[in-house]
Every structure is written in C-alpha cells, then in structure tokens.
Amino acid sequence: MIPLQHFLVLSGVLFSLGIYGVLARRHAVLILMSVELMLQAVNINMIAFAVYFDPEAFVGLIFAIFIITIAAAEVGLALAIVLRIFRNRATANVDEVNIMKW
C-alpha cells in the first residue's frame, strides 16, 4: 500500500500550486481554476485520511463528494459573475477591476 505521506505530499503540492495560481493569475477564470486545484488537494487529503484512519465511517468520502458538488456550484456562480463583469467592462482581468479601493 502506498504510504499516506505520498498522498499528503501530493495534496500539499497541489494546494500550493493552487495558491500560487490564485496569487499569480490575473484572469478571473484562471483564478477560479486555481481554487478548484486547491479544492482537489483537499479532496485527496479527505479520501486518503478516510481510507487510512476511518475505514468504516468514511466521513471523508462523503465530504469529498460534497466538496465536488459545492465546487461545481461555485464555478457556476462565479462564471455568472465573471460574465457580468465581462459584459459590463469588456475585461475579466481582476487587476483591471479596481474601481473600489482605499
């Protein structure tokens, strides 16, 4: 069996990549994708923990399913808002969306 550490490292890397994406990307959709990456990292964690520590109850698995569902909803919602922005301002670059500051 693959040691738990491998999963954790993978998820940690994925999570960090996600964070990097959120920080580095300028396009709203790409940021959203990076967030998805972070959520997947969480899923990996959840499933790995569930399998290793909690084989009977599998709360982690259910959690993962919920996360996937919610992430999907989230993307839908976010895209709607991004679309609105794009419609109104012809850009989806987040650094150009800064009417409100200070």
Binding site: L8, M38, E74, L77, I85
Partner: protein, 491 residues
Amino acid sequence: MNPDWSLLAPEYILAGWAAMVISVDLFFGRVRKDYLAYLAALGALVAALVSLIYINDDKPFGALLQIDNYATFFRVFFCLIAFFTCLISARFVQERVIHAGEYYALILVTTIGGIYMAAAEELLTAYIGLELLSFSLYVLTSFLKFDLRSNEGGLKYMLLGAFSSAILLYGISLIYGVTGTTNFSEIAQALSGNNDDLRFPMLLGLVLIISGLGFKVAAVPFHMWTPDAYEGAPLPITAFISAISKSAGFALFLKLFAEGFMPVIDEWRWIVAGLAATTMVFGNLVAIQQRNIKRLLAYSSIGQVGFLMMGIAAISPDAASAMLLHLAGYVISNLAVFVAIIICYNQTGKENIDDFAGLAERAPFVAMCLGASLLSLAGMPLFAGFVTKFILFQAAANQDMLWLAGVAVLMSFVSLYYYLVVIKEMYLGQPEAPTRFPIVPLEYAALAVLTAGVFFVGLYPQPFFDATANATDLLFAGTSAASVSSGPPAP
C-alpha cells in the same frame, strides 16, 4: 435511528417561504414588488416565532445538528435580521432591483445557511451551511446587474471567498486526518489525548481553520473583501452581510472552538488574541480616513470584529455569553444605522459622509436615531454599546487578557472620533436642500423599533444577558470548562 425531522421546522418554513416568494413573483408578475418584501418578512417572522418552540430543548438531529438553546438563539436572531432586511429592502428593491422574488428568496435561504452554521455539530454540516450562506450572499452582493461596483464587489467577494473556503477546507481535512472524525465533541476527545507526533498537522489545521473563519468574520488581514463588498452591494444587502455573515461566522467560530478545540486552547489562544488586537487596531485606524459611509461602516465593523474575537480569545462561559451579548447589541445598532442610511439613500441616492450634512434639519428623527446608534457602536452609555462592550471587555480581563481589553478600550475610543464626524455632519453641516424628507411609515417604524432596541439593551440588558447566558450554557458542558473559567464567583 431516524432523526427527528420536526426539529427542523423553522428551516422548512424558511425554505418553503422562499419558494413561495419566487412563485408569487413568477406567477403574479403584476403584484407590487414591495408586497414581496412584506411577504418574505412575514416568513422570517413566522420562522422566528416557530423557533421559540425549541427553547430549552436539547436534541440532536442525527449527529449533524444540535437543536439547543444556542441554536434557538441564533435561529431567532438570524430570522429577525432577515425580517428587518426584508422590510427595509422594500422601497430600495422596488426602485432599483429587478427580479425581486429571487432577492427575497435568497435572503431567506441565507438565513438557513446561517442557522445551520450555528446549529452544526460537525464540520461537514457546518461547511455546507457556510457555503449556503456565502453563495447566497455572493449573488446578493452582485445583484445590481448593471452596476459596476456591485459586479466588482461580487467578484472580489466570490473569488476570495472561494479561495478562503479552500483554505478552510484544507484545514478541516488536516483536523480530520489528525482526529479521524469531524464531530466537534469527538474532535475534543481525540485532541485531549496525548499525541505529540501529530502536533504539526494539528497546528497547521488550526491555523488554516482560523484563517478560513477569519475570512468569514473579516478579521485582519483576511478582511480585504469587506470594504469592497460592502460598498458594492445593494445597501440593504450591505446591512445584511454586516449582520448575518459576521454573526454566523462567530456562531460557528465560537461553537467549534468551545466544543472542539478546547483541549488545545493554549495552542490557539494567542493566535486569536493577536488576530483580535490587529483587527481592532487596523479597522479603527483606517475607518478614520473613510469618506464613504458604507466603507466607514465596513471598517468600523472590522473594528467590532476585533472586539468580538476577544471573546473567543478569552473563551469561557462568561466570555462566550458576553460575546453573544455584544454581538446582539452590535447587530441591533448596526442595523439601525443601516436603516437610517437606507432611508437617506432612498431619498438622495448618495452615500458619502458629507451627503449627510444637515440631516438633522431635513429628517430630525432619522438623524436622532442614526446618532444614537452610532454612539451605541462607539460604546456610549444609554445605548447598547456601552453595556455590551463593558461586559465583554470585563470578561476578557477576567481571563488574563487585560492587555487586550486595554487595547480594545483604546480603540473603542478611537472609533468615537469617526462616529462623531458623521454626527457632526448631520448636526452642523448645511443641508444642500432645505426640504424635509417625506415620512415613510414602515421604514420609520423599523428604525424606531431598532433604536428602541438599542436603548433597551443599553438600559435593561438583563433579559438579553440571560438569553445569551442560556444559549452558551451547554457549549462548555462537554469539556473541562472548570479548568478555563472560574464561573460565577460565589457571592
């Protein structure tokens, strides 16, 4: 064992009422839009009344929710917030928003999310409640389709919310990994065992969870979305966010940390205390420089978050009930402020502080209520803020957090300045037009009720304090509460 479905009656009512509001809007398109507001408000009120049935119950819903006084408190609390939000939205929505049905339905749905956050007994339910609340608020924030600010506020809120909930989830996953469970009390049991080798993931998990929840309650430096979302959102929604998002965040924060993480209190206490101090200092300082009333209130609410977080840093039955008391006082005052602002905004369409010049001439009653509520936020006596802050700070001081209480008092003093600036504009500024505002009975009534509440809490807080004390009674039952608090001292 089948769960007792009857325990969720208020949520059914809210959800059903939301569906009804949408249907009414859909099928009776001609109906006046403000009727929808009253309808939704009625739903919230009914839910609040129904929630009262569960007073002094202590029943689990499966292993997911716990319907106890804590949940009941927040049910009533959130429903009333929704009630007032719906009421004060009436004119605003009628004049500036399309799709009124969805608007009110979303408010009701948000309330359900908030209630689940407060009632949750385990992390998954809490997370779902949190996302329910957040998603609805994202939509509501960007509800003004053609308003660039609304779009922008929604986008920022949404993206950052997603980012931070990912962080929160990662933290949850770590805690799950460390303890093997998501149930609060089981987490506590697992953590109270000696497990030194799991220190690192546990700490990381704690930090991530605090960060995620910190985002929800807008603690510095996770607060960045707050001013922009507040400014961008439709005014009643700003009021709603400031009230429900914070309260629900704190409901979860308090419950999770009191029930789940109590055994490792030494690990996170200083983190939260530091966060609290940073938050109150930053929020209040920046608020001084604001010119837009919504941004001002955003920063002032950040400052208030700092005070509330003291309650968590000084966690104990006393501090918890004091925190809820302050939360209630704060929300009432804040809602009153927003109602007054909405009344003005409906009249003038402006939201800068200088636009309030001469309000005392144009609408003396509104000015008086706004002044009273602002002073309440500043913590002046006769109003709610004084007694609630006093109790909260004292509770913190009781837990060896005198320094934090000191910072809080100082910052509370700083906050007085910017509230006074608003009052100064209202009473000393020259109105741009000498006309009086027309009296809108419903809005004035809402304002009067909330202001009366501000005075009531300020002058006779015993019933409120009893309620919050009852609500938090059971939180600490499972853990070794005695080790943290001395309880009420023997007379």
